[in-house]
């Protein structure tokens, strides 16, 4: 999650001047270990100045995940900050687990889109499944019951032998997880392009609904309050996953595959029910899901936002395997886990709810006023880090970028002319134009009984359980080849298409979430695509009064130096009165067909 508040970035010293001759390392650590943790030399220098000493391996691991591109948004922050995030109906913009907008009747819609690209390429079923799990947690963490899922998918060329396997794995993974959890999957989009051969994109979006006055945030509060772990046990899953999501793929990395997390949608369903049950009481002070970088990022973010410190007794973390150590516990990406701060005296109430749902519950620490993270292992301090410099003030880069020269319109010379009948058939049968029914039929789009417009239309429409005369409309769109040709226009177009799809079902568009999928930001050409797309999104959002309330960035989508087409996927949400909903079916013979627009 990217945030705009309190950006006091650490000054990253530049150039070789800072690389001192005698870089100190703690025992067992050397330059290679630092490099394997994805930290550059100058970043390690900064670590030293923050710590005032050489970090041990546990501390280094924590810096590594916190400052990974995935968690710190270090390359993208500067540009994300330029996006418009405000409107009278925005309750919480970027910076929380998901964006929150007012939809009337004392209700809010809570939504976000998130990528799970790299894991899905390595293990399509589990990668996509855990992607759905992660985005669901971002939404119910805030107190919202998830009411709809969407997904934006990009695969390589249909002819590529690997594509078939990836498509079927990803689609069944999304279905397998979402269907089990009981959240209808109502829409999405799919493209095929050889540019995604080595890097597919799996972007999942969840929309939830909460009572306006029952929103839960992640900022920790109350010195002495218990820090509580709930959900599944911690295993050795995906250690270094967050770092992996931030490094370019190459031939060797397929061998080096870190363990892929296996999703457990059944536990997620129980976690939703248990959390929402606890949220109906007054026990929770703050709550945060453990996503990428698990216990590390959740505990740091909660403490940092609250301006507090934390003591964690890591031996109390529920463990799946024997012999786990603090490094593994802090860096594990095991799924279906949450961290909460409870009001004192509410521990037993909370414990009874989680036990009823057969989930783990453990008090693993408490809040302090030190502003530091103290990690203990059977009473002994094994790590001690300042919180703010790692979290709020993580590095921010102004990477060099080169604007994309917009492609000139293709020449029509030499293009064969065909009849319109042939052209129509070609369009209808192209992989990008063909029906997506074979995909959405694998998703339960009906559960809940509120689906008014099923997949297959311009936008999905889902009735509000607590205000049944109204419904939410939602859609996800982007046309990467437009963005590739001209990032600014392509960014504008993606937002405009979302807007059109929402209005086409009769809805008033309210806000968007974005998922920025690009190549290696260290290349000025790629960074230029990113900057251009941000500008385009900004232009369209301002023109349409259509703010960005949440988002996610996935960079380094490259294989063998080949970047994906720039893909800023946009998810939009609007509101519509149920009696105003329109769909795209022709209704009767003899009715006129009109063509509108420029």
């Amino acid at each position: 999650m990217w945030r705009h508040r309190r950006p006091a970035p650490v000054q990253i010293p530049s150039g070789d001047a800072v690389v001192s001759k005698t870089v100190p390392y703690a025992e067992g650590i050397d330059a290679n270990v630092v490099r394997d943790h994805g930290l550059s030399e100058s970043e390690y220098e900064t670590v030293l100045s923050i710590m005032g000493r050489a970090p041990n391996l546990l501390e280094l691991g924590i810096f590594s995940v916190m400052w990974s591109e995935h968690c710190s948004y270090k390359s993208s922050k500067k540009w994300l900050k330029t996006l418009p995030t405000q409107a009278p109906w925005v309750v919480h913009g970027p910076g929380e687990n998901a964006g929150v907008i007012d939809i009337g009747d004392d209700l809010v819609a809570v939504f976000k889109m998130e990528s799970h690209n790299h894991p899905s390429y390595i293990e399509p079923y589990q990668g996509a499944a855990t992607g759905v799990g992660g985005i669901l947690r971002d939404v119910f963490t805030m107190g919202a019951r998830p009411v709809a899922n969407l997904n934006a998918l990009r695969f390589g060329a249909p002819e590529d032998p690997n594509t078939r396997h990836l498509v079927s794995g990803v689609v069944s993974g999304i279905g397998g997880y979402g269907n089990c959890v009981g959240v209808p999957c109502v829409g999405g989009e799919v493209n095929f392009h050889p540019g995604y051969n080595g890097n597919i994109l799996v972007n999942a979006m969840t929309v939830g609904v909460a009572k306006r006055d029952r929103i839960f945030l992640s900022a920790a509060a109350g010195v002495g309050n218990p820090v509580v772990y709930v959900g599944s046990r911690t295993g050795r899953d995906g250690i270094h996953g967050a770092t992996m999501a931030s490094t370019e793929f190459n031939e060797g990395s397929e061998e080096k595959r870190p363990t892929v997390q296996v999703g457990d949608p059944f536990t997620e369903k129980l976690l939703i029910e248990a959390c929402l049950e606890l949220m109906a009481t007054d026990a929770i002070v703050s709550i945060q899901d453990m996503g990428a970088a698990g216990l590390t990022s959740s505990s740091f973010e909660m403490a940092s936002k609250g301006g507090l410190g934390v003591v964690l007794d890591l031996e109390r973390v529920p463990m799946r395997e024997d012999g786990m150590n603090p490094y593994e516990l802090m860096l594990s990406e095991s799924q279906e886990r949450m961290l909460m701060v409870l009001k004192p005296g509410r521990e037993d109430l909370a414990r009874s709810i989680f036990e009823k749902w057969e989930l783990e519950f453990a008090i693993i620490g408490h809040l302090t006023d030190t502003g530091r993270m103290e990690l203990r292992w059977h009473g002994e301090t094994v790590g001690d880090l300042p919180i703010d410099p790692l979290a709020q003030a993580s590095p921010e880069y102004d990477r060099p970028w080169q604007p994309t020269v917009p492609a000139r319109p293709a020449s029509m010379a030499g293009v064969d002319s065909i009849t319109w009948q042939e052209a129509l058939l070609k369009l209808l049968s192209s992989p990008d134009g063909a029906s997506r029914r074979w995909i959405w039929e694998q998703y339960d789009y009906l559960v809940g009984g509120n689906t008014m417009q099923r997949p297959g239309g311009d936008a999905a429409v889902v009735r509000l359980e607590d205000a049944p005369s109204k419904a939410l409309a939602m859609t996800a769109d982007c046309t990467p080849r437009y963005v590739e040709a001209d990032p600014v226009m392509g960014g504008r177009q993606a937002v405009a298409e979302v807007w059109r799809n929402l209005t086409a079902v009769g809805a008033v568009p309210l806000a968007i979430t974005d998922n920025m999928n690009f190549g290696n930001p260290e290349k000025p050409r790629i960074m230029g695509q990113f900057v251009g797309a941000c500008q385009g999104i900004r232009d369209a959002c301002l023109a349409l009064d259509f703010p960005v309330v949440s988002g996610n960035v996935s960079l380094y989508n490259e294989t063998n130096n080949q970047a994906i087409p720039p893909t800023p996927a946009i998810g939009g949400v609007g509101i519509v009165s149920c009696d105003k909903v329109v769909d795209l079916a022709f209704k009767a013979e003899g009715q006129p067909v009109l063509l509108l627009g420029a």
């Binding site: 089990c180 949608p265 369903k269 749902w357 039929e441 694998q442 339960d444 009906l446 009984g449």
Partner: protein
């Protein structure tokens, strides 16, 4: 009509059933937790709702069928109580041995969510009294393990005793192995118990009770229950 809905960890269509019963004009059902050992006093109808009880782990319905509340349901059914099992509920009732046969992975292996055509096999039950035998209706399905199987003897009994409540059909109402979406033997979509008071079916009548939200072909099932049990 006093309805009790069973709630297992992983059940996810309980709200849909509650809505269907109330839209049909019934009282709001009560929800019974899987660890309960008794049904609420005066229960007329037990609904085993859809979803993924226990994550569908091992076999869909296997663990729910062995939970404490199922003993109460077994007794209730043996005493002539009405039990409706939808989707995962159908799987649970077969696993519990309350209904014959078993439901295995769909022929195409994939999860299928779509509207299907069904032919009503019998109107002689508290569930199907609102339809005519042979009537073509349309209900949604949403399942991965809906492929009904049973040995030849059981199939023959089901047919001889007029216990096949619904069969999958094509758009013209023709029943055939080729058009059966999930591979079910004899295109079976729903079966009745010997005393005709227990129905298990894979399609979701509860998702077809309102125009604009999946049609209304599921409504007669709930209305018929209300009429019989009130």
């Amino acid at each position: 009509m006093k309805t009790a809905i069973l709630l297992f960890p992983g059940t996810n269509r309980e709200q849909d059933i509650i809505k269907a019963v109330t839209v049909a004009g019934g009282k709001r059902p009560s929800v019974v937790w899987h660890r309960d050992t008794a049904l609420p006093e005066g229960t007329d109808l037990v609904v085993v709702a859809g979803g993924y009880s226990y994550g569908d782990y091992l076999r869909p319905g296997a663990m729910a069928a062995r939970s404490p509340v199922l003993n109460a349901v077994r007794t209730f059914a043996a005493d002539g109580g009405c039990v409706l099992g939808v989707c995962n509920g159908f799987q649970i009732l077969t696993e519990a041995g309350i209904l014959p046969g078993a439901l295995v992975r769909n022929r195409g292996l994939q999860f299928i969510c779509r509207d299907v055509n069904l032919v009503v096999g019998t109107e002689k039950s508290p569930f199907t009294g609102g339809y005519r035998k042979g009537q073509k209706i349309r209900l949604p399905v949403a399942h991965q393990d809906g492929n009904y199987t049973a040995d030849a003897e059981t199939l023959k009994r089901l047919e001889d005793e007029d216990r096949i409540a619904f069969r999958y059909a094509d758009a013209n109402g023709v029943v055939s192995d080729e058009t059966c979406l999930n591979g079910s033997l004899r295109s079976i979509a729903g079966v009745l118990s010997e005393n005709r008071r227990v129905l298990g079916l894979m399609p979701h009548p509860e998702n077809s009770i309102e125009a604009g939200f999946g049609g209304t072909d599921g409504l007669p099932l709930f209305k018929s229950l209300l009429e019989t049990l009130s």
